[in-house]
């Protein structure tokens, strides 16, 4: 805790302290971007665990795999399919749907960043604005780093006119 923050807060009124606390509440009546509201791997694992009940791989294993640069492309393709199924199944729960969607994008980003491979049927160029945004806006450094690496990798490979990687 820095003295700078404390001295700033010393000048705040009780009303301002309340306003700051209320910003952290989910009671707040503002539209939320659920994808960006994923706080980190721990929260993602909590959200995915219930959805993965009975599945061959646990939520933790799936997450560790997409975060590891050593995970083979084939495994990432498999995780992408699992994540897609989970996202469809979680349509009624915005937080769980977001966790599954983020897992889906992490598998694609990991393949792009670590193996320079596009495992999605969509062109890399179409994904880049979203991945730039996730790299910049996600609060978790590990998750943001995977998208950052994907963006960086996409910038260093040759893309054809349709945004596909030229091997």
């Amino acid at each position: 805790m820095s003295d700078l923050e404390i001295s700033r807060l010393d000048h705040c009124t009780g009303r301002q302290l309340k306003e700051l606390l209320e910003l952290a509440s989910t009671d707040e009546k503002t539209a939320r971007n659920w994808l960006l509201e994923i706080g980190g791997l721990e929260q993602m694992e909590d959200l995915l665990t219930e959805m993965c009940a009975g599945a061959p791989q646990s939520a933790g294993e799936l997450l560790r795999a997409v975060c590891s640069p050593d995970t083979p492309v084939e495994a990432l393709v498999s995780i992408k399919s699992i994540a897609k199924r989970l996202a469809v199944a979680a349509a009624g729960s915005p937080a769980q749907h977001a966790a599954a969607t983020l897992l889906y994008h992490l598998s694609i980003a990991s393949a792009l960043g670590c193996h320079a491979r596009n495992i999605s049927s969509r062109e890399v160029a179409a994904r880049l604005p979203l991945y730039r945004n996730l790299a910049s806006e996600l609060s978790d450094d590990v998750l943001a780093g995977i998208f950052e690496k994907a963006v960086s990798s996409a910038s260093s490979v040759d893309l054809d006119a349709g945004g596909r990687i030229v091997s």
Binding site: I6, K18, L21, T26, G40, L41, D46, E50, A95, E137
Partner: protein
């Protein structure tokens, strides 16, 4: 993970009770984190800065050792700040017992009927309010420190400036989003979106801090239960605050 994420109160306390070099360092960290709420509480009660400092010092030296003030503390028994407050009440009662004569002059109503052991000093509620206000400030300051580090790492200095101008500036002079945008040559929507990025960092950092401070039974750790418990904790922090 977020860098330099604050240790939980309970883990810090556990380290502070150890009799080794690590324990000494943890006691320093513990005192640094809680000095302000502890001192605010004591200052309201004793109304003397030197005495409040002395008592605060005494309080922190009693954190460790046999019969230490937190010997029976456990996360399952409730919020850490409530333990801290109870320990402060006990310290204040001890102090007044030691200074009985002076205390009776200050609070003659306590001379009969149970004496100091069962007392309810009139100053306690004001002291607890001061403690709570300081506790909230320390909690928010820890969160804001992490948010600042995160914004600097992400090169979001302007986002942070906008957030601070909107939420931490002079209370009576809170600028509109139009005014804030104009300062940086952007429209109100762009200014608000940038500040909202920091709001989201702040929300996630603070919620994660609070999650670490609350005890959730292992059988009930479903995401919506955890989120609801964090919201309850926020309401508990909000309700005693005065405008």
């Amino acid at each position: 993970m977020l860098e330099r994420f604050p240790e939980t109160s309970w883990t810090l306390l556990a380290r502070a009770r150890r009799h080794c070099d690590e324990g000494v360092r943890a006691r320093e960290d513990f005192a640094q984190r809680y000095y302000r709420p502890v001192r605010e509480f004591l200052l309201v009660l004793v109304q003397d800065t030197d005495q409040a400092d002395e008592l605060a010092q005494e309080f922190f030296t009693r954190v460790s050792g046999a019969g230490g003030i937190f010997e029976h503390a456990h996360p399952a028994k409730g919020a850490f700040r409530n333990y801290l407050k109870q320990a402060l009440r006990n310290l204040a009662a001890d102090y007044h017992r030691r200074n009985r004569q002076e205390a009776f002059q200050m609070h003659p109503d306590q001379a009969d009927g149970g004496g100091w052991d069962g007392m309810e000093l009139s100053g306690f509620s004001a002291a607890e309010a001061a403690f709570h206000q300081a506790w909230v400030k320390v909690t928010l300051a820890e969160a804001l420190t992490s948010v600042r580090a995160l914004c600097l790492k992400r090169k979001q200095e302007m986002h942070l400036d906008l957030f601070e101008a909107r939420y931490l500036g002079e209370a009576d002079l809170t600028p509109t989003w139009d005014e804030l945008g104009a300062r940086y040559g952007m429209d109100q929507k762009a200014a608000r979106e940038r500040a909202d990025t920091v709001v989201r960092h702040f929300r996630l950092v603070l919620r994660r801090m609070l999650r670490n401070e609350i005890e959730i039974p292992s059988g009930a750790r479903r995401p919506h239960v955890i989120e609801a418990a964090i919201d309850d904790e926020i309401r508990a922090l909000l309700s005693p605050l005065r405008d």
